[in-house]
């Protein structure tokens, strides 16, 4: 089953014609409407009107998360704000966040691309879709929501959290498709086992998982515990949100929606293209975005392109599941967290030394982050009450900054492990 067969099964030649047409129009628009691109093109002596073949893509500048941040909030928009009908932002608050806008057409395209991913995973209008992604500025909830509605499925916008209620609704509403992070799917499964619920008796058939890295082992575990076909889908808010790529029923790589996104894989250090089939950093150029087009955006996600033809009939190239990051970003409970965000918070709080460590663990399939903070000796010997107040203060500030709750523990000065004078910022104990 296809959602848009004429696009999903295009010949390479037709696809490349379409990509070229769309890229040429996109280049014109960013050069005209986005000062950042106009200036960068001028600096790099790139003539957007001279672009003639997809092979010339490499002559265009990259866009990085830093570029987006420097243009916070609306500097990268290619349309006036009154043409924008929706705004989302990546995790993080002021200064750290990246803001993305959508026109009416962007929202329509987004829903269509998510509907493709849902259809590829096996869903139809007869399905009951429980969306346990957070709604709000995060693109996951709304992205899947509009796609599922366009598909004609019955959408349950339950949002994230409240596991027992999720299970209750899953049973009562006869949910057939679950949308959430893969780790949360296992939390749901384990809670059901604890509650003595027979997962065989559920109506659940499909699971669409994304927003965090996972593995084949986790897929197997989800399949065994929930008796569903779990498929992977990929997206990032800077590009659009979910709907960039998704797995079909073959469960062997994610089909990239190449008529809307042009992808490259580059070596993160040399920025040279990697050999076919090799692992590299995914670089995406949007081809149809109106409000927030990006040229050669460095996703920092590592993946590889899979060779060969998929038996499902789609001609869209497949990428492997994301294998890791090229920067220090952590994904905790599906939320992107940068160590620098934590640093900024601690910097503003008196009494803390600039040394800290983030320990991420996975307990019962749930991510748990603990921030160990070195404090001045004076404070340490002081009364407990003060310490507790400090912990609460840090916790509160971090929760506001990161958008997720983390544990905070105070430790003695110089007690954290240091390598060559620098402390080790991140200890990720999760085995995925």
């Amino acid at each position: 089953m296809y959602w848009e067969e004429s696009k999903e099964c295009m010949t390479r030649e037709d696809l490349e014609q379409l990509q070229l047409e769309r890229l040429q129009a996109t280049l014109f628009r960013v050069a005209t409407h986005v000062p950042f691109y106009r200036n960068t093109f001028r600096k790099m002596k790139v003539d957007p009107d001279g672009f003639r073949s997809l092979a010339e893509l490499r002559s265009l500048p990259y866009t990085t998360k830093e570029d987006l941040r420097q243009n916070y909030p609306y500097g990268m928009f290619a349309v006036p704000l009154r043409d924008v009908v929706r705004v989302h932002a990546s995790s993080g608050t002021t200064g750290m966040a990246t803001v993305v806008g959508y026109t009416k057409n962007d929202i329509k395209n987004w829903a269509g691309l998510v509907a493709r991913v849902l259809t590829a995973a096996g869903l139809t209008k007869d399905d009951v879709v429980q969306i346990a992604f957070g709604y709000g500025l995060f693109t996951g909830g709304f992205g899947l929501h509009y796609g599922a509605e366009l598909l004609g499925a019955s959408v349950i916008p339950i949002s994230s959290g409240n596991t027992r209620r999720q299970i209750q609704i899953m049973q009562d509403f006869k949910t057939t498709a679950l949308v959430c992070t893969p780790s949360y799917a296992l939390v749901l499964a384990d809670t059901m086992l604890e509650m003595g619920i027979n997962t065989n008796a559920l109506s659940l058939k499909y699971g669409l998982f994304g927003a965090e890295p996972w593995s084949e082992a986790m897929r197997q575990e989800i399949r065994n515990k929930l008796h569903i076909t779990p498929t992977d889908n990929y997206g990032l808010s800077e590009i659009m949100g979910p709907g960039v790529a998704g797995e079909c029923r073959e469960c062997n790589g994610l089909h990239i929606n190449e008529d809307h996104f042009l992808v490259e894989l580059v070596d993160p250090d040399t920025l040279e293209p990697v050999e076919p089939g090799e692992v590299g950093e995914l670089v995406i150029t949007t081809l149809t975005k109106e409000a927030f087009p990006v040229i050669r955006y460095r996703t920092r996600d590592l993946t590889r392109l899979l060779p060969g033809v998929c038996p499902c009939g789609r001609t869209l190239q497949r990428m492997s599941r994301v294998m890791g990051r090229t920067d220090d970003m952590l994904i905790i409970k599906g939320v992107n967290v940068f160590p620098s965000q934590i640093e900024n918070v601690l910097f503003e709080i008196e009494g803390t030394a600039p040394h800290y460590q983030i320990v991420v663990e996975r307990q019962d399939h749930q991510d748990k982050a603990t921030v160990l903070v070195e404090v001045n000796e004076s404070l340490f010997f002081d009364e407990m009450k003060k310490q507790r107040a400090l912990v609460e203060e840090i916790k509160k500030r971090l929760a506001t900054e990161l958008g997720i709750a983390v544990e905070v523990r105070l430790v003695e000065e110089k007690s954290l492990e240091r390598t060559e004078g620098k402390s080790k910022r991140v200890v990720d104990k999760r085995k995925i």
């Binding site: 769309r22 014109f28 628009r29 005209t32 672009f51 003639r52 349309v79």
Partner: protein, 240 residues
Amino acid sequence: MLKIRNLEAGYGNLRVLKRISMHVDPGEIVTIIGANGAGKTTLLHSIAGLLRISAGEVLFKGRELRKTAPEKIVGLGCSLVPEGRQVFATMTVYDNLILGGYVQYKKDKQAVSRELENIYELFPVLRTRADQLAGTLSGGEQQMLAMGRALMARPSLVMMDEPSTGLAPLIVRDIFRIISQLREAGNTVLLVEQNAKAALRIADRGYVLETGKIILQGPAADLLENRDVQRAYLGREKIE
């Protein structure tokens, strides 16, 4: 059916088309909208072989049209309905139509009369006016004649240059209805129009041409929703 990559063309030193890439798939109505002087007619003329192409590729059914003579291009199945109809005013309607089929059928009388019958069915008014001089027809009828003449060659792609120009609104509606019918009958249409709203309403996809460049492209429904298109071509929302 038609694939154009990085087409450049112009008159003398004047480069009118700067870098056009576009395509038309079988069974589609594709429209090119844009203001006066954007290069719409120049584009159709370059495809039809009436104008020398200075750079780029024009592939029609996989065949390069760049150095092909206009009549050969018609023979390959690509016909043009020119702007301002350009019917042969001093000839009868019947003769105009027969001329349209000449390149394709030469003297194969059977084939010509079969095609003629098809055209008369599509445009019944032309049958009743068959013996009249083309110059005596109304504007709308002349447009139908120009379309019928192009269709006589049984083209796989019909290119129409501003079919609504100079026609009364009611007639314009008829003309657009006929273009829709052509698609339903399996024809492929490349439609150049200044009447952007009407063109986008019947088209599958569209390209927006501005000073020789394509600045926007996409499904016609999306272009109708695009605020830049609305401001510039659909007369909605005045710029404050």
